[in-house]
Amino acid sequence: MAEKVIYAMYDDDDVLKDGAKLLVAKGVKISDVFSPFPIHGIDPIIGIKNTRLGIVAFLFGITGLLLATYGMRFFMITDWPMNIGGKPNETYMDNMLAFIPVTFEFTVFCAAHGMAITYLLRNKTLPGMPALNPDPRTTDDKFVIELKLSENIQFSEEELNSMLKETGIIEIDQKEIN
């Protein structure tokens, strides 16, 4: 279903932030902000929750830790206990100190890659995905606020436009997106 959206463009991150504060105070719902770099402090203003990717990394890290522990116990203790200079290899604990480096490396390996893959999937940024920024300049030096008309039914189009124009925008555009 096609949806009407308004794109308001700014040429400064601080102006955009002040503008967003003003709009939100008036009850306008801002659906997204496009910027060439992270605007610090914009997330709470437009109601974006903090990401939970940190938890994902922790879970992947724990998985790696357990896999490495289980794997080395199987390879070195259960399946084929190697006799190296007669050193004790009866139990995992006997031999554990030698397993710490690989356990650490594998934990980091799983945490980093698991997190990175989750990040790319959640962002839907993968090779060959289409770019969805409204204007090519938003990856250079312009900042855009996106308003969806369907999310702001209490205001008319003209009201939204005039409110945006008070916030120091440099351009305004209206599009229909799917």
Binding site: I48, L53, G54, W80, F104, V108, H113, K124
Partner: protein
């Protein structure tokens, strides 16, 4: 926003706007490559291909083509391996450790330092692989089910720990680097003029759009990756040092090795960053972003780590005497006064004395001096590994086994070849990739850019950029 003292030197010189940063970084990619690039690329490629030829000959004939003998079973191969891994330590240190410490000067250099790291680790990884002789059996280092009565790899061996450490380090650095590259590729994509480059950069940029939620995730993933890459950096060279430290060879069997190797790695890595960065800033006209202040910061790191390495050398000498072990004592006397005294002397001069010159502000802010020292340090660090490896081995327990090591031309060819290949990769990177972290540099423009810092007032007083505010903070 973070405020910075007015007396602190700005990190971005000149009156740059966000758009200027984009243009400055994208221009070398969009313009035709200068003739110098083709010349350098040609030279690097020829040297690299010569190295590939030497490797092909080595694989076809056998490890015997190296200058190894019965007593010295490890020489240039592992020296080069440790040297390259050491160089590969600066990139992730700059981007991860300095990110955790919120050092803003890292932003101008982290991208290319990380690229350097990745290419250096490629070169390092090649040496253990070709040392296997049968390269195609390289996958035997992985714990795979097999037909030899399920004989697993030995997880008690530091050589196997190295396999895990180096591969984790390489792949995590690659991910860290690429996550940061995605938004910058998007910038190049949106500026691209030709259809081919548009297509290429849109594939590389993964469809990045710069949404607020994506940036939120981006910031967190950078922080968490930095957090887990930091212990990784330290673990990798510690594990490399275990290759020696867990053996019983006098001169290797030393508990000081892990911290000593890590500092040496950071030392040589920063030196290589200086070598590359000083040329790159000039060739790509990035003087406004990478300037004397950045060079000075890196020189301070070189000075500190160089001093730690110097202390480690002296500690090693003292402990060998204090241990009372005859073999240990002889190993060190032989290093300093034996037939390899010249290698030991070069190591001491290059690594201990030369970084001490950085105490002088004038010298550490001199670009030419820095360039010379950076090369001297890299030569010194190569000798350090050569001294540790060859001088500890060449006089065995039995005097009848005493030998010297003479590198063959294949030894030299493979080593020089990796330097060529390294520059092939780095030049390609400088040509097609954004060498500066665009999006990160833009975030510090308002707090550390010259025009914003020194402007008396520029319209956003409520954000605390005005001079008056800064002065009050200083008092």
């Amino acid at each position: 926003m973070h405020k910075e003292a007015a007396i602190r030197e700005p990190l971005i010189l000149g009156h740059k706007s966000y758009h200027d940063i984009t243009v400055d970084v994208c221009k070398p990619i969009e313009d035709k490559a200068p003739r110098m690039w083709y010349i350098l690329f040609g030279i690097a490629l020829i040297i690299g291909l010569y190295g590939v030829g030497c490797i092909a000959y080595l694989l076809g004939t056998g490890i015997g083509v190296w200058g190894l003998n019965k007593t010295i079973g490890w020489a240039w191969d592992i020296t080069n391996f440790v040297w390259w891994v050491g160089i590969g330590h600066a990139g992730t240190l700059i981007s991860a450790v300095l990110l955790l410490f919120r050092q803003k000067w890292r932003m101008a250099i982290n991208r290319s330092a990380e690229a350097m790291t990745i290419f250096a680790v490629f070169m390092a990884g090649m040496f253990p692989l070709i040392h296997m002789g049968r390269l195609w059996l390289g996958y035997w280092v992985l714990p795979l089910p097999n037909q030899f009565g399920s004989l697993w790899v030995n997880f008690n061996s530091p050589l196997l720990w190295d396999v895990f450490a180096i591969s984790t380090y390489l792949s995590v650095s690659l991910v860290f680097w690429y996550i940061g590259l995605i938004p910058d590729f998007a910038t190049i994509r949106d500026r691209a003029k030709t259809a081919v480059s548009k297509k290429m950069y849109s594939i590389l940029s993964f469809g990045w759009s710069g949404r607020a939620k994506h940036w939120n995730r981006f910031e967190l993933i950078s922080l968490v990756l930095a957090g887990i890459a930091t212990p990784l950096v330290f673990s990798v060279h510690s594990i490399v040092s275990f290759d020696f430290a867990t053996s019983v060879i006098p001169g290797w069997h030393t508990t000081i090795f892990p911290p000593y190797f890590v500092c040496g790695a950071v030392f040589s890595g920063f030196a290589m960053v200086q070598t590359l960065m000083l040329v790159m800033r000039k060739a790509m006209r990035l003087e406004a972003y990478i300037h004397v202040r950045h060079v000075e910061y890196m020189n301070i790191v070189i000075m500190v780590t160089g001093s730690i390495v110097g202390v480690a050398y002296l500690t090693e000498l003292f402990v060998s005497w204090y241990s009372g072990v005859e073999y240990e004592q002889y190993a060190f006397i032989n290093r300093a006064t034996g037939p390899y005294w010249w290698a030991y002397a070069s190591m001491m001069t290059c690594n201990v004395i030369s970084p001490q010159l950085m105490w002088f502000r004038k010298l550490r802010r001199s670009l030419i001096f820095t360039f010379i020292i950076s090369i001297v340090v890299n030569i010194g660090m190569w000798f350090e590994r050569y001294v540790i490896i060859v001088t500890s081995l060449h006089r065995d327990y039995l005097p009848s086994s005493w030998t010297m090591h003479f590198p063959s031309h294949i030894d030299i060819g493979v080593y020089i070849g990796t330097i060529g290949l390294f520059f092939v990769f780095f030049l390609l990177f400088a040509r097609y990739f954004p060498v500066l972290a665009l999006n990160e540099v833009k975030t510090i423009l308002k707090s550390s850019g010259e025009s914003y810092k020194n402007a008396p007032s520029h319209g956003h007083d409520d954000h605390g950029h005005s001079h008056e505010n800064l002065n009050t903070n200083n008092q």
